[in-house]
Structures are given as C-alpha cells and as structure tokens.
C-alpha cells in the first residue's frame, strides 16, 4: 500500500476541509513513508489549538473506526481532548474512547475525572451523557466508581438521568457479575419509579441481570400495566415479554377447564364447567345437588388488567410491539379472546419481507394450536409471485395448517396454480403440502392422489421425484386399492434419476410386492443390473427389495438376491456392506444362523404404520412465541423458559401496593405531584381504557385507611376491622362477611388464604359458587331436591313478598342460596347494593364500605365488561357494582327477565346518547327468539338507538346488549315494547338525573371561572347535615360520584369537594361543590345552566349524603 493512497483512503468520506492546513505541514512528505508513523499528521492536528483542526482530525479518525481500521495508536493524542470545549469534538472523542478504552485501560483512566466532574453538572443532559460514557468504558478498575455513579444517578431528580442509570446497569453487570447483588438493589429502586421514561429501560436491565427475581415485580405489576401504553415502543416490547413470563407464574390457566374438551367445541365456559362437575360427581357418587368440587375459574383482576392494557397496542406501528402483544394473548388469554390478535398479525404481512418472515413463522405455530383464529384470513396467505421463496414456503405451511373439510377445495385449487410456478423449490414444497392435506383430510385423499399421479408425467424431474416421495407416503395408508399406481411407478424407474424418488419406488414395490407379484422380480432384475451405479440410499433399498422378494417369492428371485448381496458385500460403503451381511444372515438359512432367521418374515414384512405427516411447527409453542429461540427452534443463549401455569394461584395480595399513611395536608402535595407525572394520554377525555384505571388506582391510593383495610380483609386478616374502630364486634363481623360476599359477587378470585374462615362459611361459599355457574332459572331451583327447601323458601319470599326489594337489588347473579340462618343477612346485603331507596333503619354502618367498594372496583370492572362484551356477550353480566334496575320482571315476562344499568360508558355510535346496558335472562324452560324492540314512544327530541336483535336466547342463558338513548337532558321515560317471537311487553326506562351527565375534567381555576359565570338563578345551595358515616372527604366523593356521573375537580382546600360534568345532550356544565364544616354540617352547591337538572341533582345528592 503506497503511503499516499493509504492516506486518501483514510480520509475517506469526510470533507476535505483540512486539506490546505496539512499542505503547509513541512514534515508531511516524510511522515507517510513509514507505516508506524502514518498517523502523525492526525496527532499534530489533535495537539493544535484550533478546534476546527481537532474536529477534522477526529472526523477522520471516526471514519477510520467506522470502516473497521485500527486507530488505537492515536489513543494518547485523542484522550487529551476529552475536556475540549467544542461539543462535537467532545462527542467524537467519546465515540473513540468507548471504542478503544478496553484495549488501553491505563490511558483510559486519564479521562475518568472528566466524567466524574460531568456527573455533578447541574444540567441533567450532561449528567446523563457523562454516566453513559463512563459506564460504556469497559475498564474493570473503575467498577467501584461506576457502581457509585449508578447508585447516585438512580436517585437523581431527573428521570432522564435515572433512565441512563438503568441503561448502565447491564453494562456494569457484564463487566463484573460480582456486583449483581448491589445492582439488584438499584433495579429494585428503579422499578418503583413512576415515570414512563424509566420503565422500559429498567425492565430491560432486570431481564439482563436478574430475570429470575420475579418477586421484584409484584409490587410494580399494576403500575407497569398502567404505564405500558405511554412507555416508548422498545420498552413496551421488553415489558410485555417480561409480563408474559410473570403472568405465567402468578395466574391460573384461563383455559384450564376447557383443556379437557376437544378443540373447536362451541360450548360456553360455564357449560363446560358443569360438565366437569358432573363427571366428578359421578366419581364421588353424589348424584344429588350438584355442588362444585372444583373451583370455577375466575380470572384474577390483575390478569385481566394486563390483557386489557395491552390490547390497544395491537394497533402500534411497531411490528415488534404487535408481535409481543400477540404472543402475550396467545400464551395468556382465554381461548375466546385470542382471536383479536389475528387481524393485527395479518396486517404485519404487508410489511417488509423480513417482518413477514418472522410473523409467518409465528403464525404457523399458532395456526396449529388455534386453527379457527386465522381461518377468516385464509386469503391473506395466498402466495404472490413476487414473494421470496422462504416466504412462499412459510405461507404454504400456514395454508396447509388451515386446511379443513370446508376450505380444502379452495386451497387445492390454489395449490394447483402453485405447481405451475417456475420456482422449483416452491413447487416441491407445494407437493409436500398437498400430501399433508391428503393425509389430514380423508375426503380429499383420492383427489390428491390422482392429482399427484398426474404429476408423475410432468416434464420436470424434480416435480416427479417429489411426487413419488409423497405418493409413497400416501399409498402406505391404503395400499390395497392402488396396485395400479404402484405398477405405474414401477415403470418410472426407467426414467427417474433422483435418488430419493428411486429409493421410494423400490421401497414401495418391496413393501407391497404381493400386490404386484409379476412386476416386482423384474424390477429387481433391472436394479441388479444397475446396482453398482446407484446412489447409496438406492442401493440400500435394492437390498431391502431383494430381501423381501426372497422371503415371499424365493423361487424366482433366489439367484438375483444372492447376486445383489454379493455385489453389496464388496461395496465401498461400509453401511451397505454391513446391511448386506446382516440381511444375508437373516434370510438365508445356514447351519450357523441363529434363532432370528425364523422370524425373518415377521421382521421384514411386518405391517408398518403409515407415516404421520406433521408440520415442522408442531410443538414449537413451548418456546415463547416471537422469541429468537422459537424462530430457530433451538434454545438461544439467555432465553428464559416460559413457565407452566401454576396448579393453584399464588397469593394475589403480593401485588397490593401498600398505601402509605398520610395526613390530609400531605395529600394535596401528592396529588399535585401525580398531576405533573400524569402520562401524556390521561387528559380529560374519555372514561374507559387504561389510563382511566390508572386514575382509579391513584384514587384508591389517595383514598384512606378504608382502602388498605379492605385489601387486608381480602388477604384474610382479621385485624382490619379494628381500624374502623367504632363498631361493636358483632357488627364488625357482619361487616366483614358482607364485604366478602360482595367481593365474591364481583367475581374476585377466591383466595387461598381465606381458609381460616369457618367451615360453615366455606360451605356456603361452595354452594354459592355452584349456583353462580348455574343459570338461575327459577323452575330449576323449584325442581331442586328437598334438601334445599330452605333455599326455595327464601327464594319464594323474595319473589312474592319482597318484590320491591328484589327490584332494587336486581343483580345479575342468581338469587344466592344461603343456608337458612343467613337468610336475613342475605336480604340486607342485597338491599345494600342500592343506595337511593335505602331505608335508613337498616344498619347504616355498612353503607360506606359498600359504596366505597362499588366505586373502587367499578372502574376496573366497567372496562372489563366492555372488552368482554365485544368478544363473548353471552358470558358476561353487568357488573354488580353498577346500580341496575329492573325493566321486566320474570313473572310478568313469563320467564324472561330484563335488567338494565347505566354503564357510564360513552356510547360510541352517538356521543349524545346515554349507554344503557341491558341484561336478558331467560328463566323459562323454552328458548326465546328474536329479542328486539318496537314501537318506541318518546317525548319530542328524544332519540333511541336500538340494541341489535338477539336472535336466540336459550333457556337458562343470559345475554347482554347495549342501547343508546338520547334523553334530551330530561328525566322523561323512554317507552317502548320489548318483543320476543311470541310476546310483546310494554316497558320504560327512566333515567335518574345523575346519569344524564358525563364527567369532564377541569382544573381548579377553570372550575372557579365557570362557577362565576353560573351564579344567581343557576346556582342552588342547600344546607345539610352529613350522615355520621360520611364525614370524611373520601366517602363524600364516593357518594356523590355514585349518585351522579361527575368527575372530581382538584381542590386546594380539604374542606371542599368539587365535581364537574356536562349534560350528555346539550353539553351544559354541571358543577357541584360540597363544603364541609364542623360537626357534620355541610353545604351543597350546584351550578347548572339547566335549572331543572340542577334542582333534581341537588335532591339526589342530598339524599345520597344524608342517609
């Protein structure tokens, strides 16, 4: 390499700015002559005072690094510039340092002090970049310095610096694994961080350093779920993958009850459960009173939270995020819900071919397990002539997996086109695919076979060979019928040269030589002639053929066989020599031959099972989908196994976040802080969705001792009652029981730790569980055995004497069947669910608990029921925490009962409508058909969006539907007829005024401004005395938001609670203020443009607060 050319090359792409300068260099001529000095010009430039020269030199050095040239001898010259003022020079020096520090450890230490200074810089970005470079220098001596720096940065004020600290953790870990314990402490600290910026990076660090420490996630699980949507996309991928693993260890298999049933059965979830119960019953010989021996599966709300919060990410532009969510759903979701991912995955098929390649691999695996999921998208897997071969083959794989009796004809027609393709590898793959379709679907076996036989006359030898191999496999299934095909193939031996195909034909003839007794010896004769020129696999098959013929037809073939065996004896290949020796001993009886030769016929002519043509993707799903290991079908380094579902769910209370004790003044600070850190998306709009639940969580966190008390009761501790203090012990006990009952109604998972409870209670729970699964058809319960007479008694009293109460309590779940002595309590509990018509006489102490609970969980469950409604409307019930009203009693409706509740969800088809969720329960013995509404009578201006017709409601089933009503901001009832195929019922829906509004988000200042504009006539003020149980801020909030669909407005004073909303139709503002004073006195102010609404709202809220 001449000196000047080397110089030019190194200069490379960088601009020629510096040219004139080193032109002046007097020494330049000499420098280039010797190789080791060739960087002297650069050194000189680096030593100069001019930044521009330094920059130019650095640019050239970086260009060298980029091209992979060694520039390590410049290290001393470069490292001097680490403190350079020019920011670009500095950056390039950093680039150089990170690249070469590992090789020049001692010199690299010179730069450390600069970074240490940088770590103290007031500017967060400089702190971050100093830490970044410091941690990237792989010099073991500075490990303690790095550790210190990371620890400090982890508690930095700036989230960006904390993020950088999270990035530095795996760097330090790879440098010195000894530091693991200390690093885990830092990770634990950072995991608790509440900013989206940090979340992704720290989970990445967690995955690299201590993926086994799943216990660190517990406390942060809910936070991570809620933050997920706001985390940057790369972090989302890592978090979702980690949470998939986490969920596998913590939750129960949602499909566990279905795994026994065959795939594709359309039985509903509850139905299957019942089946199992029955089976078990038989085992245990308890014919009567079906009691659930096995716990019905109830999804952990945290499990649901994860599924709900990841679902919108299917819409991400980032293919990796979509894939991560898809694998999460595949591994974690109940079978009925997995379908949602298909559409998103199919969308990825329109992306770059590399993306397609990975996605198709995963789709291929999924399509084996869940065929139905991709069937609607069959056409998306049709092959385009422009696809690369590997994509074509994968699509073929998916198409084959999707083939079934109904679509096979379309698929085969498509395959026919593919066979004509010019891409021979692809044609071969197609032929194999046809073979697989033929084995899997018996109906088309003959068609396929005929098609393949036709291909035998194809001009392309590869096609013929592949067909022969496939036909061989097919024929093995039913050889008797197809001796003519075997004959046809025997003729092919003259032409086909592909060894595999020849071997296949020979094997076929040998195996079925009885079917072609005349041809077989002739084929052997021909083969014996050409034996020496054949490939090894063909030779082996010739020996096989000879042996088999010798055993069946020794008269004709004895000599031929001997000849072949002799040829084989002297073959070059030892396998063939071995085989020949072995076979000779077996088939040719000599005096030496052992006992085995007697069984030679059995050995050779045993019936062989037909091969199962399987997808190469079968059972690949034991690897986590979307992972590198899955793609390679081999465990990659650092792969974390996806654990199996646990038999019993671990204690879910570990995820409960402890609510710190705080006084009221500190609450304000906290709320402010929260506001600042609120994620981007959680602004005013909307109600449902992930951020909403984030809000609700922060709500409960900002709640009170009540919240913590409740959670403790969930984990079964008895002590919590004492926190509330004032009640007598008896009341406490009742209280607690009620809480538990309600919990159950909300379908909270049954916790293991509750076992401390008395056995009696346990039994009752069991009964209730079994009842919940059963449809609550009245007739059924009437028919039930005498042993449950107490139950029917209570039922009767419910239905006849207590109609009114029942109506209030109208709950989705069947009337519970408690043992006799619980009857009284039961009624109480049911009435608790209704606040408005609550008789003040009945133990008021219970109310606050109830109202709190309904509100803290209502938000969670709202979202839950919404997402469920899309997927399987038949399975869900409106959440019990929402107040539901009766539309049609089951007696009046001749077995059909209808309840409705205001779901407080935005009604998507029309924003001006109030969403009314209706639940139909068919208690009759016969099915109801064509449920729809007719003859809507409305006040002028009102509008109704009818619910879609329910075509069939089988006996004992329930169904839900959502309708929208525009009440025009009045409490006028909407009257209409509810029709079944036989009857019509007149019904009406009248909204409480609180449901005619939707919450809006206002700041304190906006609130004050708006309030100022709504004075005078628009303001209604009422004095009241707060109910004894309702004197803290939290309870007030709960009660008001239960009575009216308003949202809380932040407020500086703790004596005031403010709420805001807008009426649904006209959008007029509704503002409510509750100002508390000493001794339970309070003042309620409502400001609203619409005076009627205002007056009615005042009444309702007053009632809610005073009872």
């Amino acid at each position: 390499m001449s000196a000047s050319s080397a110089f030019n090359e190194e200069k490379g792409g960088s601009s020629s700015v510096g040219e004139p300068e080193y032109g002046h260099d007097p020494a330049s001529g000499g420098i280039f002559s010797s190789d080791y000095k060739r960087h002297d010009d650069l050194k000189e430039m680096l030593d100069s005072n001019k930044d521009s020269l330094k920059l130019e030199a650095m640019k050239r050095i970086v260009a060298m690094i980029a091209r992979g040239k060694n520039a390590s001898d410049l290290f001393p010259a470069v490292v001097k510039n680490v403190a350079c003022k020019n920011i670009e020079v500095k950056k390039l020096v950093y680039v150089y340092l990170v690249r070469y520090a590992e090789e020049q450890q001692d010199l690299a230490l010179l730069s450390i002090s600069t970074f240490q200074r940088g770590l103290k810089d007031p500017n967060q970005l400089i702190r971050a970049s100093a830490l970044r470079v410091l941690s990237s220098i792989r010099v073991t001596i500075i490990v303690p310095i790095m550790m210190l720096a990371i620890k400090e940065a982890a508690s930095d004020m700036s989230p960006y610096v904390r993020k950088t600290a999270a990035h530095a953790i795996p760097k330090l870990y790879s440098l010195d694994p000894e530091q693991k314990d200390q690093l885990i402490e830092v990770i634990e600290k950072l995991l608790a961080d509440k900013t989206t910026l940090v979340a992704g990076s720290v989970v990445m660090a967690f995955e690299e350093v201590c993926p086994e420490r799943i216990d660190l996630i517990h406390k942060n699980y809910r936070k991570l779920c809620n933050l997920l949507i706001d985390v940057e996309e790369w972090g989302q991928v890592v978090i979702i993958n980690m949470l998939t693993r986490y969920a596998r260890t913590q939750f129960l298999n949602p499909n566990m009850n279905e795994s026994l049933l065959e795939e594709g059965s359309d039985k509903t979830f509850y139905g299957s459960d019942e089946d199992e119960d029955e089976e078990e019953e038989e085992k245990e010989k308890k014919a009567e009173a079906p009691m659930a021996k096995r716990k019905p599966y109830v999804m952990d709300p945290d499990h649901r939270l994860l599924l709900r919060n990841t679902k919108p990410l299917l819409q991400s532009r980032n293919a990796a995020v979509v894939m991560a969510v898809a694998q999460l759903y595949f591994h974690l979701a109940p079978k009925v819900e997995v379908g949602v991912i298909a559409k998103a995955l199919v969308r990825l098929l329109r992306s770059h071919s590399e993306v397609q390649y990975v996605v198709l691999q995963n789709v291929a695996t999924m399509s084996i397990k869940r065929r139905g999921m991709f069937e609607p998208y069959l056409k998306s897997f049709y092959i385009r002539s422009t696809d690369p071969t590997q994509i074509k083959v994968l699509k073929l794989e998916v198409l084959t997996n999707l083939a079934n009796e109904t679509n096979i004809s379309t698929i085969l027609r498509e395959f026919q086109t593919y066979i004509k393709s010019m891409d021979k590898d692809f044609v071969a793959a197609t032929i194999q695919a046809i073979g697989r379709c033929a084995t899997n679907i018996g109906e088309v076996r003959d068609t396929c076979l005929n098609g393949l036989v036709q291909l035998l006359s194809n001009r392309d030898e590869l096609v013929v060979a592949e067909s022969v191999v496939v036909i061989k496999k097919l024929l093995q299934m039913q050889p008797e019928k197809h001796s003519d095909i075997i004959k046809h193939m025997a003729k092919l031996t003259d032409n086909i040269q592909v060894p595999m195909a020849r071997a296949s034909i020979l094997w076929l003839i040998g195996e079925y030589c009885e079917h072609v007794p005349k041809i077989a010896p002739d084929v052997l004769r021909k083969m014996a002639k050409s034996f020496t020129n054949e490939e090894d696999i063909v030779k082996l098959q010739i020996i096989n053929l000879a042996a088999k013929l010798y055993l069946t037809n020794s008269k004709q073939t004895k000599l031929l066989t001997q000849y072949v065996l002799n040829l084989a004896k002297y073959d070059q290949n030892y396998d063939i020599r071995d085989r020949a020796r072995f076979i000779r001993q077996l088939i040719v009886p000599t005096e030496k031959s052992g006992a085995l030769s007697k069984y030679a016929k059995k050995l050779f002519l045993a019936l062989k099972p037909a091969p199962v043509l399987e997808s190469p993707f079968k059972d690949r799903d034991h690897f986590q989908l979307g992972s590198l290991s899955h793609l390679l079908n081999a465990k990659a380094g650092g792969y974390q196994e996806l654990p199996d579902w646990p038999e019993a769910a671990p204690d879910p209370s570990v995820r409960n976040v402890e609510v710190p004790e705080w006084t009221k003044c500190s609450s304000r600070e906290k709320r402010k802080e929260k506001r600042v850190e609120k994620p981007f998306y959680s602004d005013s709009e909307g109600e449902s969705g992930p951020t909403e639940s984030a809000d609700s969580e922060s709500d409960s966190a900002s709640g009170s001792e009540m919240g913590s008390g409740l959670e403790e009761s969930g984990s079964g501790s008895e002590s919590e009652g004492s926190e509330e203090g004032s009640e007598s012990e008896e009341e406490e006990e009742e209280d607690e029981k009620d809480k538990k009952k309600i919990k159950k109604d909300l379908k909270k998972p049954v916790k293991e730790s509750e076992s401390e409870q008395s056995s009696e209670e346990e039994e009752r729970k069991h009964q209730r569980k079994s009842d919940q699964q059963k449809s609550d058809s009245e007739s059924e319960s009437d028919e039930e055995s005498d042993s449950e007479s107490s139950q029917s008694e209570s039922d009767d009293s419910d239905s006849e004497a207590d109609v009114k109460k029942k109506k209030k309590a109208a709950e989705s779940k069947p009337p519970p069947k408690p043992v006799k002595k619980d009857t009284k309590k039961e009624k109480k509990e049911m009435s608790l669910l209704d606040l408005d018509d609550f008789e003040p006489a009945a133990s008021p102490q219970v109310t606050p608990v109830n109202s709190f609970l309904s509100n803290s969980l209502v938000t969670d469950l709202e979202g839950l029921s919404l997402s469920d409604a899309v997927l399987s409307p038949a399975n869900i019930s409106p959440c019990s925490a929402l107040k539901s009203y009766e539309l049609l009693h089951r007696i009046r409706g001749e077995g059909l009962s209808v309840e409705y509740c205001f779901s407080r969800q935005p009604f998507s088809p029309d924003g001006n409508m109030v969403a009314v969720q209706m639940q139909f329960t068919n208690n009759a013995t016969s099915e109801a058909k064509n449920l729809h509404m007719e003859d809507v009578k409305l006040q002028s201006g009102m509008r109704v969006k009818e619910f879609p017709e329910i075509e069939l409601l089988p006996a004992g089933e329930t169904a839900t539907a959502v309708m929208g009503i525009d009440f025009c901001d009045s409490t006028q009832a909407a009257n209409f007829q509810l029709c079944t195929h036989t009857r019509k019922f007149f019904v009406s829906i009248q909204p409480p005024v609180g449901e005619l509004m939707r919450p809006v988000f206002l700041t304190e200042n906006e609130f004050k401004k708006e309030q100022g504009q709504l004075m005078g006539m628009n303001e209604i003020t009422e004095k009241l005395t707060l109910d004894a149980k309702c004197r803290n801020e939290h309870t007030i909030v709960q009660r008001v938001t239960t009575a009216a669909n308003l949202s809380r407005v932040p407020c500086g004073s703790d004596k005031e609670c403010r709420f805001a909303g807008r009426t649904v139709t006209s959008g007029s503002l509704v503002l409510a203020t509750v100002a508390t004073k000493e001794g339970g006195a309070a003042q309620l102010t409502v400001n609203c443009e619409k005076m009627v609404i205002g007056t009615m709202l005042v009444k309702d809220v007053l009632l809610a607060l005073t009872q």
């Binding site: 920059l55 260009a63 670009e88 990035h167 989206t196 390649y357 992972s627 380094g637």
Partner: protein, 394 residues
Amino acid sequence: MIHSLFLINHSGDIFLEKHWKSVISRSVCDYFFEAKEKAAEPENVAPVLQTPHHYLITIYRGKLFFLSVVQTEAPPLFVIEFLHRVADIFQDYFGECSESVIKDNVVTVYELLEEMLDNGFPLATESNVLKEMIRPPTILRSVVNTLTGGSNVGDTLPTGQLSNIPWRRAGVKYTNNEAYFDVIEEIDAIVDKSGTTVCAEIQGVIEACVRLTGMPDLTLSFMNPRLLDDVSFHPCVRFKRWESERALSFIPPDGNFTLMNYHVSSQNLVALPVYVKQSISFFDSGPCGRLDITVGPKQTMGKTVEALMVTIHMPKAVLSANLTATQGSYTYDLATKVLVWDIGKLNPQKLPNLKGSLSLQAGAPKPEDNPSLNIDLKIQQMAISGSLLFIRTF
C-alpha cells in the same frame, strides 16, 4: 441486545461497522456471505442466521444489507424493526439510503448510530429528537461549516427526550403554518388466468407533513370510519379517542411522518381499475412462442390511469423477445428474464397492446406454464375506499 451492526453492499463489501459492546470481528459475516452465495436472490437470504456463537439478523434495504449481530435471546422482530428504523432515519437525513450517501456522511452516520442505541438497547429513534442532537446535512450548512469549522452537532441540548412527547421537538416556530396530508391507497389483487379476482384488498396510508408552530393538538375525523377495518398508528395518536369516537387526536411530530396505516375491509369485492387480456403460448414445433397483451380500463371513476407498467417473469428458456408495442416501450433483460413494458398513461380510446413472438432456446423443452404478470399503476386524486378526512386544529 444488538451487539454490532455491519453495513454490506450488494457485492459483499463491509463498508461500515459499529459496535455497541465489545468489538466483534467482522469475520462473523462470513456465515452470512455463505448463505448469500447459496441463495439465488438477495431477498432469499434468511433474515435470521445461526452461527456457533452469534445470531445474525439481516435486513435488505435499498441494495444494502444491514447485518446485526446478536449474542443472546432477543425478539427477532425487535431487531428487524430497529434496523428498518435505522434505514428510515438515513433516508430522512440524507434523502436516500445508499452506499455512496452513507460513505459521504460517514461521521454523521456514526454519530446517529451512537445515539440510537445504548449498550444495544434503543435510546432515541425518533427523527425529531435525533435532529435536535445531530443536524441533518444541508448544502448551506456544509458551506458554512467549511468556512467556519462549525459542526453538525447541535449546540443546544436536546429536550425532546425529556418530555412525554418524545416525537416532537420543543420550540418549533414557523411563519407559515401548514399541514398536508396525503392519503395513499393501494389495491393488492391476485387475478387468475381467466380474469377472475382471487383476492383483493385495499390498504391505505396517511402520510403527513406538518409544519405548525408550538404544540398543536390536531383532531382528524373520517367521513366513514366504519370502512376502516384495521388500523395502526404513529405513537402520537391517542388510542382512546380512536376507540371511543373514531377520531384521530394527536400532537404531531414536526415534519414528515406516517400518521396511520389502515386496511379497508374487503367484504364487498374491490373493483379493479384495469383489466388485462393476455395470451402467451409456446409451440412444440419450432423454438418460438407468441405473446399478446392488451390492457384496458375497468373502473376508474373518470380518472386517468398513470404510470402503468407490466412486468413479466419469463421462463428460463426464453432467449429473446421480438415485440411491438402500440404505446410505451418494452425491455427484455436477458440475464434475469424479465420483460418490462412501460406504458405510461392509459388512453381509454386506444388501448395499449403488446404483441409479437418470443424465441426459445433451441433444444430446450417448451415451458409448459404461463408466466405471471405483475401490473403496477397509479391513479391520482382518487380514494378507492371513499373515506374522506376532516381536520381540526387547536
């Protein structure tokens, strides 16, 4: 995660390497070259290769291979998506993503790569953030830099990374505030020999160019959102608003970006804008074949069809083509056996036709199948799905 990146050109030269952890010798690429040798087309190289100690994940973009080295388990799509993002950023910075451009701007490229990954994990991949840190080269700036010795590195520290809206840089100011949205819809259809549509689907993409001052919050709603069957969004779009109101609400990045992709449900069959009559036949007697192709308009809603192009992959035996085109011009590439007929604008009065004979290799058996035709076309000012947009700014 991502250990190293090698950029390899079409002929197999490594012209750039970048390591985010300790250095990996470029000899690791030999495994890739081996696979590349085996595959006939560069597209056919498997994107993921396993070597004894490393995994190679490759993408092929603009005649370049982006080869990344991964040492431990990492989601392959994660790496692939990132590599494509790198290529997108190059495109965004330099106008194209080619070997010469990357070589010319090697320092900028290196700095970009440095910022995009930290220890193998993506750090800043938003073009807005990167542009704050490393300014894209412009002619003016390179002239100024030459004179002053200035640099491409931003002297202000980037703030975008710190905010909750990482895709938008702070303090944007324009004298002319403008926002443009391009709706590009594509039909992908497979038509069989007899002319029946086997499958057809419409995909759309909304490309935006937004130059607005400050922190604009835009809302965009559709005439008929029900048409949109499946959508994916830029991270700036609020999912929740879409779920509840079917409206796009977002704070846009500054400059060009892809707002959303959508898929139009194809319950009703998509009307294709053109039809093709073709007959390609080969004869047993004599080494020749005949070709006759006519293209005509079908459902164009009165709009003109432009940039019409027919591409045919001929069987290997076809030696040359002697054709006459009534409109446009054709080329036949002997090496790749691809016949390209560039028609241009479709004239409905006089339908373009390509006719003539094909000569086959002597002695070769006659190809038995008809080659497949690919037809590309463009229609301006027409949205096939018929969904229109409304935009509102705050």
